[in-house]
């Protein structure tokens, strides 16, 4: 397994290289750069000279391949460059944003797993009965509604109408409890729910389907014959087998949740990687675009790797060596 992980990690390098080259070329194919807007300040006596100086300072007057390899060399030295729009190191901007996105994605994933797995198992156990039909209908309904619609509905009721949960940010500024655990949690509820609800429905359906396949297996019948209680059979024996596809899906979803968080972060003004990436793209902030792309790419690739590893851990029949 260890050698497999090392091989997979080494395999990430060419993939990342290709991703960054593509993003770099696409980024430079867009006309203009972060300094172009200075032209629109009529007080600046010689905007062309100012822009030329800023471009030279940031290496934008160099041929593209030199710019790319300069960036790559700096990355290997742990330097992602300076954000041209924020005027601060890219690593610092990402360092502030990444934990927020991770917190949001992990919380959403926890909500998904804690809610969907028990419901899915119970649905399978009571297949085609009232509980199954009702919760399946709700699950399909949730699955068909995009996260940003949930976001707006949740905001409308919980924040705007009832004013019991904040609409934006991760902490309440200017109060004594600012930044406390409780403060963080109340800010996390709405965006995490909006991110979790559509996936929650999907996971519920997945768990139900897998459980229905396992529940008719011989070992389940044997367990019943031995007189084991239904909850024990379901959550100890059936679930361990039914959960394997979910574990794989969990790994793949890490990247998916990162992507899904982009729109929701914008709506909830959640200062994460999504908002950072959008602002970087809109302002043509090349170092920040590349830095955030790198983080997204690494997250998706690592997510896939985790999925493979979890699959091997949860299913003894799978061996990578």
């Amino acid at each position: 397994m260890a050698s497999y992980i090392v091989r997979r990690l080494l395999g990430l390098i060419p993939t990342l290289f290709v991703i960054t080259v593509i993003v770099f070329l696409l980024m430079h194919a867009m006309p203009g750069n972060a300094f172009m807007a200075l032209v629109y300040n009529p007080k600046v006596k010689d905007p062309a000279a100012l822009i030329a100086r800023l471009e030279a300072q940031n290496g934008l007057n160099q041929p593209l391949y030199i710019q790319y390899f300069d960036w790559l060399r700096n990355v290997f030295q742990g330097n992602l460059g300076m954000s041209q729009s924020l005027n601060e190191p890219v690593s610092q901007a990402i360092g502030q944003a990444l934990p927020n996105t991770l917190l949001l994605a992990v919380t959403a994933e926890v909500i998904i797993l804690l809610v969907s797995i028990p419901i899915g198992v119970l649905q399978a156990n009571r297949a085609n009965k009232g509980f199954d039909i009702t919760t399946s209908f709700i699950a399909v309904l949730f699955y068909s509604i995009p996260g940003f619609v949930f976001a707006l509905i949740l905001l409308l009721f919980f924040s705007f109408k009832w004013n019991i949960l904040p609409s934006t940010g991760t902490v309440t500024p200017g109060v004594s409890y600012s930044g406390s655990l409780g403060d963080h949690i109340i800010h996390l509820v709405l965006p995490a729910m909006a991110l979790a609800l559509p996936s929650l429905a999907y996971y519920t359906r997945l768990t139900r389907g897998n459980t229905l396949q396992v529940i008719v297996a011989d070992f389940v019948r044997t367990a019943k014959a031995k007189g084991l209680r239904t909850p024990r059979i379901l959550f100890r024996h059936v679930l361990r087998n039914a959960i394997i596809p979910l574990v794989t899906q969990f790994g793949f979803d890490i990247g998916g949740l990162f992507g899904g968080a982009i729109i929701l972060e914008e709506i909830f003004t959640w200062p994460g990687m999504g908002e950072l990436s959008i602002n970087a793209t809109l302002s043509h902030d090349y170092p920040l675009i590349l830095g955030s792309t790198l983080v997204f790419a690494v997250t998706v690739l690592i997510g896939n790797l985790i999925a493979d590893i979890l699959l091997a851990v949860s299913d003894p029949r799978i061996r990578y060596d």
């Binding site: 006309p31 203009g32 032209v39 944003a97 924040s159 914008e266």
Partner: protein, 577 residues
């Protein structure tokens, strides 16, 4: 406020009444009168409370004044650091950190007297040394060569500051007379310099920044969270990319603000209206659609203020395909008559906008009121002018160029704004109605539009007609930055390639409004009116409408001074329970 295109500070000029007050030695009254009024009211007004204002997207963390060009950062530094002079709601220069100012006989040197109440938030007086540090910073090599350097223009008119100076070097035109008096000598006599440039000089605390080499300022702890300021509020907490919390400065030059805390919070424009209703935000500008919905919402008050900005339809007069046609003044006049601008006001802004007929919107104190009724919607006259100019209507119903070629100009506009899309569609309809086969290009990014406008010396970029907007920002106006024939915008972005005689007249009038004689406000206004009339005849751009600023705020918030130049005098605002 969140206009669809370029947001920038426009060229500013001195407000002459303020200048003359300074010349006559009565500048002090301009500064002290509001203070006295404020002090008298102070006792009756409740103090305390927290004001929450919004910015639409996250900002960097550079808070040394003028180091960062981000407008959002400047919201914070604008409350933390006061400049030497400011403006009132009538666009007149008034005292701030500086209480009085007066001029030498040759008008090249301005003398300044610091307000005795001007203190840093730790109670230490603001001195001429602090002002000197602010000047040195903008003139320094570190600021100009290493950091942003975008605001060097503020000091570049001072003798000795035409090129970046070694760090810590004071331009020879800046002299300290005493701890509370200093003078600035400029290279030329120019009545606009005080209002457009020197006004923005911002004192910096020598007892902190004076001990740090300028080359290290951008990475200093003070830049990341300043501990001292001379503005109405000082920073107490920064949550990166989310909020900046500020508390009232007890030593503020005009007295401690009534409101105890001000929070700048990053809030998506999508949720601002909901946050206003729920009370999570105290004051914010909204679009007309939301404004009408919020007008009757409980707990909220509203305000409509004309803005110092406008939208326009531009034509690339040097365009390789149709530049000759666009250069015909009759074409642009015909377009102006063909635009149903009152209809645009209703369609785009639900009536909250005004038609613009000159280079200044009507809210601007320099706007020539005589132009208000020019170019009323008249497609018949538009057709007549086009016919006279030789744009004949062909068999297919569309006009041809005077040379007989098909005339199918295109219109380019920036993506990402549905209102801009609607505006473009209106333009197409208006042009089609006078038989001009205007076609809409697919929307492009604002950056791409800028790029194409600014790199088109041979006229071969795809842009022919385009939609843009100017926000003339706060402060008195100096039109030279935009409209001199050799100004950057006229050689690149816009066009003013009129006959030489017109250009000469344009430049002469613009020079005249900034001459020594223009220290007389009536004279300057007269010259500016002549220039606006010339502009209105020549129409280098087809200006359309100026949106109103629609503000919604808590009905517990009082004392807000709304103006075309923004909301002013936050220290006067107060909150009731």
């Amino acid at each position: 406020m969140n206009k669809r295109t370029a947001m920038f500070s426009a060229a500013a000029v001195v407000t002459l009444s303020g200048l003359l007050a300074g010349l006559a030695g009565t500048g002090a009254f301009a500064a002290t009168k509001p203070v006295a009024k404020h002090a008298a009211k102070h006792a009756a007004i409740p103090n305390g409370g927290t004001l929450v204002q919004t910015v639409p997207s996250s900002f960097g963390v550079n808070f040394i004044p003028l180091l960062d060009s981000s407008a959002y950062n400047q919201n914070v530094t604008g409350l933390m650091f006061d400049p030497i002079l400011t403006i009132n709601a009538n666009n007149q220069l008034i005292g701030d950190i500086v209480q009085k100012w007066w001029f030498s006989k040759n008008l090249k040197t301005t003398y300044f007297k610091i307000n005795p109440n001007a203190k840093w938030s730790n109670g230490i007086h603001v001195t001429s040394k602090d002002v000197e540090l602010g000047v040195d910073w903008l003139a320094s090599q570190s600021y100009n060569n290493k950091d942003n350097g975008a605001y060097n223009y503020i000091v570049s008119s001072i003798v000795g500051a035409q090129k970046p100076l070694p760090d810590g070097t004071t331009p020879s035109g800046f002299k300290i007379i005493s701890p509370t008096e200093f003078s600035i000598t400029q290279t030329t006599v120019d009545p606009t310099n005080l209002g457009s440039n020197l006004q923005f000089i911002t004192p910096l605390p020598t007892f902190i920044l004076g001990k740090i080499p300028m080359s290290k300022w951008s990475t200093s702890a003070f830049n990341k969270q300043p501990t001292i300021g001379d503005g109405p509020f000082t920073i107490t907490q920064i949550v990166p990319n989310q909020s900046v919390t500020m508390k009232a400065n007890p030593y503020y030059v005009f007295g401690k603000p009534h409101i105890a805390f001000n929070i700048w919070k990053v809030v998506s424009p999508d949720v601002v209206s909901g946050d206003l209703v729920s009370g999570q935000v105290s004051i914010a500008a909204v679009h007309a659609t939301d404004f009408n919905k919020l007008k009757n919402a409980p707990g909220l008050a509203t305000n409509v203020t004309p803005q110092n900005s406008y939208d326009f339809l531009g034509w690339r007069l040097n365009n390789a395909v149709y530049g000759k046609e666009f250069s015909n003044v009759k074409f642009r006049q015909a377009v102006e008559y063909a635009l149903n601008r009152p209809a645009l006001v209703q369609a785009l802004d639900k009536g909250y906008a005004t038609v613009v007929n000159g280079p200044f919107p009507s809210a601007n104190s320099y706007a020539d009121k005589a132009l208000a009724n020019s170019y009323k919607y008249n497609p018949t006259l538009a057709n007549k002018l086009l016919n006279e100019a030789g744009f004949k209507i062909g068999k297919n119903g569309w006009r041809t160029t005077p040379g007989g070629r098909p005339f199918t100009p295109t219109l380019t506009y920036a993506s990402g704004d549905s209102l801009l899309q609607t505006q473009a569609e209106f333009m197409k309809q208006f042009m089609n109605a006078v038989h001009i086969n205007l076609k809409l290009n697919a929307p492009i990014s604002f950056e791409q539009q800028l790029n194409e406008l600014n790199n088109d010396t041979n006229g071969k970029q795809p842009i022919q007609g385009f939609l843009e907007a100017w926000n003339l920002g706060s402060g008195p106006q100096d039109p030279r930055g935009l409209w001199l024939s050799n100004a950057t915008f006229n050689t690149t972005t816009q066009d003013w390639t009129q006959p030489v005689s017109v250009l000469k007249q344009n430049d002469k009038l613009l020079a005249e409004q900034a001459s020594a004689a223009a220290y007389n406000p009536a004279y300057r206004q007269r010259v500016l009116n002549q220039w606006q009339q010339l502009w209105n005849t020549q129409l280098p751009t087809n200006n359309t409408i100026s949106d109103d600023l629609l503000t919604v705020y808590s009905n517990k918030l009082h004392g807000v001074v709304f103006s075309p130049y923004g909301t002013l005098f936050i220290y006067k605002w107060y909150l009731t329970k």
